[in-house]
Amino acid sequence: MKIVESAELAQFRWECRDWLADNVPTNRPDDGEAMRDFDLAWQAKQHEGGWAGINWPTEYGGRGASVLEQLIWHEEYALAGGPPSGCMFVALSHAGPTLIVSGNDEQKSRYLPTILNGTENWCQGFSEPGAGSDLPGLKCKGEIDGDDLVINGTKIWTTYAQHARWQELLVRTDPDETRHRGLTWIIGDMQAPGLEVRPIKTMAGLEHFAQCFYDDVRIPLKNVVGEVNQGWKTAMTTLGFERGTGTVAHQIELATRVDRVIEAVKEAPGGADDAQLEMLAVLKSEVMALRSLTAASISRGMHETVPGAGGNIVALYFGELTRRVNAAAFDLLGPHSLERAGYNYPAHFLECFKWAIGGGTSEIRRNTIGERVLGLPKGPKAV
């Protein structure tokens, strides 16, 4: 446990800060093609500036930043008010890293550069109506026919599917196998005939995800990443890429939101009573702990090669805390918080529900913490 500072890191921070101050775009559209265009243009700009793929190795065109440099970049990014990576998120944080670890040379040279320069974006294709928390139960089928894999079935909760060019698609290619076995990870073409994408409106009123329907969609077998029937292994290799820096921006944004609510409550006529201040003090403590937990994950990332299941503790804490923070405005600020004008508490509140559902519900995370961190037995058996 020690403070880590160096002249090089300080220099790197100033470099980030200067570039971001001159280049961060504002007024990201809420949804639609305008949002996609905005996200891709911002990616292109970061590419020109030499910041694209901050955690990608330089041999694949990334910045190749160390874990601490990544942390500094994300801190400065959040402090500069940088927009979410949005439509580029899956490509940068998941599909690209998967190709880097498991793709062949041809796949790497075809798909990685267009991610970094912001010309092509990706979506994920894992969850299905019958396979959400129970992902290994997925059924969407892939059958080998000549040089193609023929896809039939459906994927759901596909974030920004309607705006994506490619898809990391996990399908069942061995019908005799169950669970994690017999799956294949393939690069899906979102422009392929037979694929229909139906946007789904969220409770926040935005069309940020979709359901995809595959009716004899043909994908060339050369798009398989890793080996046929070894898709689970391909999907899991990406985990080693995550070093805890990805959530730094969310954590800083949440801390800023708590400070904003504290300010608003104190400025309200009559000020704040003790019960209100206590609620705020606890939230403030919790966002500080979230910062410390994030710092600890990053510290572990500097010492370990593959992150353990402990990341679920940070994710659970963030998911639950973000809900409490966003709900607090309504408890503390009265009826004015209901209006969308100004800071738009309703939008933040409605949107934040996703953090305790997507990527693993809080309940699934508690199971994982119980079983894989604490070593409690799986179960229960039927009684």
């Binding site: 403070i3 003790d274 403590s285 702990a289 410390s292 510290s299 503790i313 199971n367």
Partner: protein
């Protein structure tokens, strides 16, 4: 500020030394016997405890210390909490920092003279054998000679493993003591961790409906929440200790650590009792000891009002 929150080799060695000493010499089970109460068990092993050299850990070498810092002291305080070591031992770790003359400081570092914790207009905890009292309240801490305090005996309090002597007044010239605030948080974090471990262990062993109760989500999720609370409190406490004195707002960092450590200790201690069911309600199960000690330790130092003010000031 960028920090590495993983203990380095030397820090791990310090922690391993104290943990193995406490597991051997002062296991929590000792408190099942009345004769171990009131710091008596600690007095029995006092000379060996002093030989570990803990009490000068965070003092500069020219003051007779080891020249380490608050992170190392926090690891020790956490271990003391895990083993429900007498509050007096934590006071001994804090007292040399408050000593104003060299002779007093040296005697406290060596353990030749002993310290106890006290709360102004409240109680001295496990004061027997102590010459000094670290009186620690919302206004800060002062080191008082025990003989200068107006004390009277009591029949005991909520935690029957600790002795309580009533103090009239006693605040003295209290100085801000954020370092001690962080160490109390670390002690409470130790309680939050120990109760998590105890609940998880029991959930693996205890069978009902033909399987370990830890297989049921009601128990599994409670354990996961305990681990998460303990982790958040612990990580914030170690963060506060690591950045202490380095230009961040120590008062806010300490207040956050203490707020979370208090909640984690109390909530986990209660959840541990609940996980143990009927056994948890008995005197022979150690679960109640952690709850009682957490409630007593939380009376030291800052109160909720002081923490609210620090955390919501902007």
């Amino acid at each position: 500020m960028i920090v590495d929150l993983i203990p380095d080799e030397d820090q791990s060695a310090i922690e391993d030394t104290i943990v193995s000493f406490l597991s051997d010499m002062l296991p929590v089970e000792r408190l099942r016997e009345d004769k171990a109460h009131g710091g008596a068990a600690e007095s029995e092993v006092w000379s060996q405890l002093c030989e570990l050299g803990l009490f000068g850990l965070g003092l500069p070498e020219d003051q007779g210390g080891l020249g380490l810092g608050l992170p190392e002291e926090a690891l020790v305080a956490r271990a003391l909490g895990r083993h429900l070591v007498s509050p007096g031992v934590l006071a001994q770790l804090c007292a040399p920092h408050l000593a104003t003359d060299e002779a007093t400081r040296d005697a406290l570092i060596s353990g030749e003279t002993r310290a106890a914790f006290g709360i102004a207009d409240g109680y001295v905890l496990d004061g027997e054998g102590a010459e000094w009292v670290v009186v620690f309240g919302p206004g800060g801490a002062s080191l008082r000679a025990r003989s200068d305090l107006s004390l009277s005996a009591t029949d005991g309090g909520l935690d029957n493993t600790v002795t309580f002597e009533r103090i009239e007044g006693g605040a003295g010239n209290a100085q801000p003591a954020l370092r001690i605030e962080v160490l109390v948080a670390a002690y409470l974090t130790g309680i939050a961790q120990a109760t998590t471990d105890m609940a998880v262990e029991y959930a693996k062993q205890r069978e009902q409906f033909g399987q370990p109760i830890g297989a049921f989500q009601a128990i599994k999720h409670s354990c996961a929440d305990m681990a998460t609370r303990a982790s958040a409190a612990d990580t914030q406490t170690l963060f506060a200790a690591t950045v202490f004195g380095a230009g961040m707002d120590d008062a806010v960092e300490a207040a956050a650590a203490r707020t979370l450590a208090k909640r984690a200790a109390l909530e986990n201690a209660k959840a541990n009792i609940q996980t143990h069911g009927g056994m948890g309600f008995t005197n022979e199960c150690d679960a109640h000891l952690f709850l009682k000690r957490a409630m007593v330790m939380d009376m030291l130092g800052s109160d909720a009002r002081a923490r609210r003010e620090a955390l919501t000031a902007s």
